[in-house]
Amino acid sequence: MAEVTISDLRKSYGGLDVMHGVNVDIPDGEFVVLVGPSGCGKSTLLRMIAGLEGVTGGTIRIGGRVVNNLPPAERNIAMVFQNYALYPHKTVAANMGFALKMQRMDRAEIDARVARAADILGLKPYLARFPRELSGGQRQRVAMGRAIVRDPEVFLFDEPLSNLDAKLRVQMRSEIRELHQRLSTTTVYVTHDQIEAMTMADRIVVMKDGHVSQIGAPLDLYDRPANVFVAGFIGSPAMNLIEGVVRRDGGVVVEAGTDRLPAPDLPGMDDGRRVIFGIRPEHLLRDDAGFAAAVAVVEPTGAETHVVLRMGARDVVAVFRDRLGLRPGNTLRLSPQPGMVHVFDAETGQRIG
């Protein structure tokens, strides 16, 4: 039980700066997901919290205590790794109890804790087995059990579901979430999968190139992305981003090629400003007065249909819940749903309004 405070954290390898002053406050009991493309520094940040990477500048506090120079074992954290990292020559029970044994805990207490964790995770029948005799999902549960028995102040997860198949991943996702609801231990979870981030997090930290791009609740990020990067990263299929110029003649529109897209009248929407017009695929509505686009690809997913449309030289994706029986070559007329348009500055990528 502890809050984690990261202030102005920096990291460089040799002369190369990979983290440029990251600030994140994680209150006690929160489930925070670090998400971003590969190389954005999310894993480095997690490993710095764990103490597996040195800190170049700034501080990391766990429960108010600066842990910059503490070895991993003294930070009272537990970590779950992508490829499980179970000790291959120890049984499930020995794997789970090993950290406690290293702390010279009483044998009976270790057994009790291992039994309790095994109970929570449904691992009772497998305690005497070796990791190689378990399936991927079971191994991942053992790795979580190893973290639980320590009763740490912070759980760290490093892409724990990446090695599992799609179905198991969805199942483990809710299991981890449920585990957090039960233990309410502060959790930092790293993933590159924005769906995992959206479904699991209390708050998401989106990272890019060693900077924090935006921090917020999943739906806040979805509804009000602070910049073009977050807009494009969160949500699947990704938001349509169309570059254009603001024109204020009568209404406010963004002129992109020959198309004129109706835009909200926000402060800063000055005539002639170069902007990026963003609209999520599900917010493109069929409208006989809208712009015309030719259907290029139709991708039915069952519940909804993703349609890739060619609009001038650009591809735009729209999502429809009703089955329209579209075929490639058909023409659709679409317009953005009012109030659902995002506008970003073309130079800085920052949100306008």
């Binding site: 490993r47 764990a50 103490g51 597996l52 070895p71 991993p72 074992a73 954290i77 537990a78 970590m79 790794f81 992508q82 490829n83 499980y84 990292a85 179970l86 000790y87 291959p88 020559h89 090993f98 950290a99 290293m102 702390q103 190689r132 190893r146 490093d158």
Partner: protein, 278 residues
């Protein structure tokens, strides 16, 4: 080509392997059978197996009577096992440091340590002898152990660091988070996982040490520090060679190294199958 079934292919493969084995084992076979024959029988028909008439243990009798053969054995064994121990220990530790830690000159240090693979240690014999004389280590087994450790380290570091790079970083980090010291990580997590590589290195290191004649002759020719290879040479004279004794001594010399090899090769096979059934 179309008629080549998997069975015929496996017969062909086995034929090649068996032929190779026969060629490789033939000299050993000749040494062993002749060691059980009388001197006359060795020269009359070197390739015949011993029969009731030609069977003779005189070679073994000579060897066991002559000098201190048991002592020579013990010397060889001591030198080989001690050198092997140090090569594996220091080699593995150096390999771990090179593969695990990022530090200035890591690559250069690795190259420097591997240089010994290409430069024969015998080139430095004179300097080594001077060194041993100066430090009063001539005619001690310590001298041999030191030289052989130096001789075996380059290959050990080279092979083991390559294998240790493949040990999962996550596993080592999990150990760190569980509170293991770097030494415990090395001994309890990494070493068991590179055991097949250790066995390979052990076999490659052991055989040249056991068979070496050069350094025992130069550094430790005294009666009480003679190795078995050097000890066998007493039967080879300038004018007369006691072939029975030479062959018997060589046959005996094969036994301990074979036992060691069997121990290590069990590890090798266990390592390979452990990977296969995972």
């Amino acid at each position: 080509m179309a008629t080549r079934t998997p069975i015929s292919r496996s017969i062909a493969a086995h034929a090649v392997l068996i032929t190779y084995t026969l060629i490789a084992l033939f000299p050993v076979f000749v040494i062993v059978i002749n060691s059980f024959k009388s001197r006359r029988a060795i020269f009359n028909d070197p390739l015949a197996v011993p029969t009731a008439e030609t069977f003779d243990l005189v070679g073994y009798a000579t060897v066991l009577k002559q000098g201190d053969f048991f002592q020579y054995f013990l010397n060889s064994m001591t030198v080989t096992v001690a050198s092997l121990f140090f090569v594996l220990l220091f080699g593995a530790m150096a390999a771990f440091a090179l593969s695990e830690y990022r530090f200035k000159g890591n690559l250069l240090m690795g190259l420097y340590l591997a240089l010994g693979i290409m430069i024969p240690i015998r080139l430095g014999t004179v300097a080594i002898l001077q060194l041993m004389v100066a430090s009063g280590l001539v005619n001690t087994l310590t001298a041999l152990v030191l030289v052989y450790t130096a001789q075996g380290l380059p290959l050990a570091v080279f092979i083991l660091s390559e294998f240790m790079r493949q040990v999962s970083d996550d596993l080592k980090n999990a150990g760190r988070i569980d509170g293991l010291s770097e030494y415990r990580i090395f001994f309890t997590l990494v070493l068991p996982l590179v055991r097949p590589a250790m066995a390979t290195v052990a076999v490659f290191t052991m055989i040249p040490i056991w068979n070496d004649l050069w350094f025992p002759l130069i550094l430790a020719p005294a009666e009480e520090t003679k190795t078995i290879t050097l000890g066998s040479q007493v039967f080879i004279g300038q004018f007369v060679t006691n072939w029975n004794a030479v062959l018997a001594a060589l046959s005996l010399a094969i036994v301990p190294v074979m036992v060691l090899y069997l121990i290590f090769s069990r590890q090798l096979i266990r390592g390979i199958t452990a990977g296969a059934v995972k």
